[in-house]
C-alpha cells in the first residue's frame, strides 16, 4: 500500500508522533498465541446448552405446542416458550424510537419465516438439547407465503407481519423514505437520452468464522454476566433489559472482542434468551449458533431490487435520476428500516444531479429477517449506480471514467438530501486511478479538483 501525499497536502499535518505510524496491533500477540479471549473461551463448570426448535414452514399458524416429552427427556433442565419471556414482542430499534415492536423472541401465534425460533431447550449437553428438540411436537396450519418484494406490495399479497398491518414499513413520509431534489420529470423532459434499468441482489451472509452467541453466568447479588460477541454492547444490554423486564444494572455485559462481525452481530437474538435461561435455571448457560444457524438463521444483508431511471445529456451531464429501491427486510424489522433510510440518504451516489427522486421501501417477506452488513444500505446501491454509470457512458459514447468526472460531486454542490457537499475527494481518487491503471482520460479531467466549484452550465 502506498499513501500518495500529493493530494490535499495542505490539509494534512505531518508532525504527529503516533498517528500515521504502523504500530503493531495490541491484540496481535494474543491472536498468534491463540489466547485472545473470545466469548466462548472461558472454562465454566456446569454450563448448560441451548438448542432451539425452529419453524419448518415459511408462514404458518401455530395451532398447538406439546413440549411435554422434551421436558421429561434426560438432561433437560428447562423448556422455554413464549409465555416465559416477560416482554416477548420487541424490536431492536425501539431504543431509538423506531417502532412498532414487531418480532417475538419466541413465536407463539404464527411463524413468519422458516427457521423462526419457537421453543428453547436448555439442557446439560448439546446432545441432550438436540435430542429433546426433536421430541417437541408443534401443530401448524400452513399459510401462503410471499418471497418477492414487489409481489409483497401488491394488493392481496399474504400479510407477513400483523404488527405493521401492511407489507412495508410506514415512514413519516409514507410507504417509502423519499428524497426529492428539483423536479425529476422536468429533468427527464430535457434529457437527450433516458435509460431505465433494473438491478437486484440476493441476501448475503456476514459469515464470521466465530458464530453468533453468548455465555451467561449468574453472578453474585442477582446479577448476570453475559460474555458476548455482540458488536453493540449497550444496545444489546438495553434490549435485553427491555425483553426481560429487569433493570439494566442487573446485567453485566463483557465483550469487545469478536471473531469477525461484518454487521452480523448487531442483532440481539441470543443474549436475552440465554440470560432468561440462566435466570430460570440458576445455572450458567451458553447459546451459540451452530454454523447452519449462522448461515441461514442469523440476519443476512438484505436482498434489494433497484430501478434506476436516468436522464442524460449528450455532453455527459446527468440531469435527472429516479431511484426506486425495494429492500427485503424479511419477516421482521430488525435494523432494516434504518438501513433502508441509509440507502435513501446514499442515492444518487457521489454525483451532482439537479433533479432527483428517491423512493426506498422497506418490505416484509417470509424470509429470514435481514439486518446490517458491511456497507449497510449502500453496497448494493453502489453496484446498481456504478453499473448504470457504465451503461450511460456507453449510451452517449463517452469514456466511462470521463463520464464520472463530468458528474462527480465537488465541495459546495447540493446533494439530493439537501446538504452541501463537504470534503469531496472522488475526482482525486479517479485521477489517481486513471494515472495508475493507465486509463486515458481527457486532460480537462486530470485538471479538475474537488475543491473548485463546479461551473454551472
Amino acid at each position: 500500500m502506498e499513501i500518495r501525499k500529493k493530494y490535499f497536502a495542505d490539509e494534512r499535518n505531518d508532525d504527529l508522533k503516533e498517528i500515521g505510524q504502523s504500530r503493531q496491533r495490541s491484540d496481535a500477540l494474543g491472536h498468534v498465541k491463540g489466547i485472545t479471549p473470545f466469548y466462548a473461551d472461558r472454562a465454566i463448570p456446569g454450563l448448560l446448552h441451548i438448542r432451539m426448535v425452529r419453524s419448518p414452514h415459511h408462514h404458518a399458524r401455530i395451532l398447538g405446542i406439546d413440549a411435554s416429552r422434551a421436558e421429561r427427556h434426560p438432561g433437560v433442565r428447562r423448556v422455554i416458550t413464549a409465555r416465559d419471556v416477560p416482554h416477548n414482542v420487541y424490536t431492536v430499534l425501539s431504543l431509538i424510537n423506531i417502532g412498532p415492536e414487531d418480532e417475538p423472541v419466541l413465536a407463539f401465534d404464527k411463524v413468519r419465516w422458516q427457521g423462526e425460533p419457537i421453543v428453547c431447550i436448555v439442557a446439560d449437553s448439546e446432545r441432550a438439547a438436540y435430542e429433546a428438540a426433536q421430541l417437541v411436537q408443534i401443530a401448524y396450519e400452513e399459510l401462503p407465503a410471499v418471497f418477492d418484494v414487489e409481489e409483497a406490495l401488491k394488493p392481496g399479497a399474504p400479510l407477513v407481519n400483523e404488527y405493521h398491518g401492511q407489507n412495508y414499513y410506514r415512514y413519516d413520509s409514507g410507504e417509502s423514505r423519499k428524497v426529492i431534489l428539483g423536479d425529476v420529470e422536468k429533468g427527464f423532459a430535457e434529457a437527450d437520452f433516458i435509460l431505465e434499468q433494473r438491478y437486484q441482489a440476493s441476501p448475503i451472509e456476514q459469515a464470521p468464522t466465530e458464530t453468533t452467541g453468548c455465555v451467561v453466568v449468574p453472578d453474585q447479588n442477582n446479577r448476570f454476566t453475559c460474555y458476548t460477541g455482540t458488536q453493540a454492547v449497550f444496545f444489546t444490554l438495553d434490549n435485553s433489559s427491555v425483553i426481560l423486564q429487569v433493570p439494566g444494572q442487573q446485567l453485566h455485559f463483557v465483550g469487545g472482542t469478536a471473531g469477525g462481525g461484518f454487521g452480523g452481530k448487531v442483532d440481539c437474538t441470543t443474549e436475552p434468551i440465554a440470560i432468561l435461561a440462566s435466570m430460570l435455571t440458576g445455572r450458567p448457560v451458553s447459546y451459540i449458533y451452530n454454523r447452519y444457524e449462522e448461515m441461514q438463521i442469523s440476519s443476512p444483508r438484505a436482498a434489494e431490487r433497484i430501478y434506476l431511471k436516468d436522464g442524460v445529456m449528450k455532453d455527459g451531464r446527468i440531469v435527472a435520476r429516479q431511484v426506486r429501491c425495494y429492500v427485503d427486510s424479511g419477516a421482521y424489522s430488525r435494523h432494516t428500516p434504518y438501513g433502508t433510510q441509509k440507502a435513501a440518504a446514499h442515492f444518487p451516489g457521489p454525483y451532482t444531479i439537479p433533479n432527483v427522486r428517491i423512493d426506498c421501501y422497506c418490505v416484509y417477506t417470509n424470509r429470514t429477517p435481514s439486518s446490517a452488513m458491511r456497507g449497510f444500505g449502500v453496497t448494493i446501491g453502489d453496484f446498481a449506480l456504478e453499473v448504470q454509470m457504465d451503461k450511460l457512458a456507453r449510451l452517449i459514447g463517452m469514456d466511462p471514467l470521463e463520464f464520472r468526472f463530468v458528474n462527480a460531486y465537488r465541495d459546495g454542490d447540493m446533494k439530493a438530501h439537501h446538504q452541501p457537499t463537504e470534503g469531496a475527494a472522488l475526482i482525486e481518487c479517479m485521477q489517481e486511478a486513471a494515472e495508475w491503471a493507465d486509463w486515458p482520460v481527457d486532460p480537462r479531467c486530470m485538471a479538475m479538483s474537488s475543491r473548485e466549484p463546479r461551473r454551472q452550465p
Binding site: 438448542r51 434426560p74 448439546e126 446432545r127 441432550a128 438436540y130 426433536q134
Partner: protein, 274 residues
C-alpha cells in the same frame, strides 16, 4: 439415547453389533458421520470403530490394487505406487480433511461430494462388503445403486481395481472455489487407445446424479473413434445422456449439463483447449 463409541477389532463382531443396534454407525474419517452428530442428528447413538488393520492397508498383486476402506486420502497421496491417482485424492478437501477422510467413507458422500468414488468408478472398482450373510464383492455401480437402502450391519471393507495402463487415467474436478471446493462436476476417465483410436473407455461423472455415474452412452459411442475435437463435437449429445444432476448451492442442474461437455473435452483433449 445419548451417544457412545464402540471399538471392534474384528469386522464380524462389528457387523453383529450393527445389526442389533439400530443407532450404530460405522465411523471412518468422521467427515460425514461426526458432522451429522455435531449438527444434531440424534438417530446416531453409537460410533462403531473397526480396527481391523487390513482395512488400513494398500496392497498390489498381479496388477490388482486393493485399498482398505479406512485408507485415507493422505495415505494414498503418500504412496509411491499410486501417484497417478493423486489428482483424485488431492481434491478431497484440505490437508486436515485428507488425513481423516477414507476411501470407504467417500463412497457414502452424497452428491456433489464423493469425488474419489468417481475415480474408482472409472477404474472399474469392485467393493468388498461384509454383512450378515457373509462377504460379497459388488461392482461399484451396484454399490451406488443400493447405497441408500443398504441392509443393517453392512460394512465396506475394501475396494479393488486393476491398475490401468500408464497414462490412461485422467481426472478433473471443476469447482468454483480454488484450490478446494465442492464439485460443479468431476470427471474420471480411463481410455485405452488402439491404433490411434479409442479401444476401450470407462468414463465416470460426479455431481451429475445422486451418486457417481458412468457415461455409458458416450463411452459406447466413443469406441473406435479418433480422440479429436470433431469427434467430441459430434458425440456431444451423448455426454449428458442419462445425467440427472442436482441443483444445489454450487450450481444448477442446467449449468452442470451445460458445462459437462466443456470440462470433458478439456480433460480428454487438454492440448487443444485455448
Amino acid at each position: 439415547m445419548g451417544l457412545s463409541y464402540r471399538r471392534f477389532e474384528k469386522v464380524s463382531a462389528a457387523t453383529s453389533f450393527l445389526t442389533e443396534e439400530a443407532g450404530a454407525c460405522v465411523v471412518g474419517g468422521g467427515t460425514l458421520l461426526v458432522r451429522r452428530v455435531n449438527e444434531g442428528d440424534a438417530a446416531v447413538t453409537t460410533y462403531v470403530r473397526v480396527c481391523d488393520p487390513e482395512m488400513k492397508r494398500i496392497d498390489e498383486a498381479d496388477g490388482r490394487i486393493r485399498l482398505g476402506a479406512l485408507v485415507t486420502m493422505a495415505q494414498l497421496l503418500g504412496h509411491p505406487g499410486l501417484q497417478w491417482l493423486a489428482p483424485a485424492a488431492r481434491i478431497v478437501g484440505g490437508p486436515a480433511i485428507r488425513s481423516a477422510a477414507t476411501v470407504g467413507g467417500n463412497l457414502f458422500a452424497a452428491s456433489p461430494y464423493g469425488d474419489f468414488g468417481v475415480a474408482l468408478l472409472a477404474l472399474g472398482a469392485v467393493v468388498t462388503v461384509h454383512g450378515a450373510v457373509g462377504v460379497e464383492e459388488w461392482p461399484l455401480a451396484e454399490f451406488f445403486a443400493r447405497r441408500d437402502s443398504l441392509p443393517a450391519g453392512l460394512i465396506v471393507t475394501s475396494v479393488a481395481f486393476t491398475r490401468p495402463e500408464a497414462g490412461t487415467f485422467r481426472f478433473v474436478k471443476a469447482s468454483r472455489v480454488k484450490p478446494k471446493g465442492a464439485a460443479i462436476v468431476s470427471i474420471a476417465a480411463v481410455i485405452a487407445r488402439d491404433a490411434g483410436r479409442v479401444g476401450a473407455a470407462r468414463i465416470a461423472f460426479g455431481a451429475m446424479a445422486g451418486t457417481p455415474i458412468r457415461a455409458s452412452s458416450f463411452e459406447r459411442a466413443l469406441i473406435g473413434e479418433q480422440l479429436i475435437t470433431a469427434t467430441l463435437d459430434r458425440l456431444e449429445p451423448h455426454v449428458t445422456e442419462g445425467t440427472t444432476p442436482p441443483s444445489d448451492a454450487i450450481a444448477s442442474a442446467w449449468y452442470r449439463q451445460a458445462v459437462l461437455p466443456v470440462h470433458l473435452r478439456r480433460l480428454l483433449l487438454p492440448e487443444i483447449d485455448g
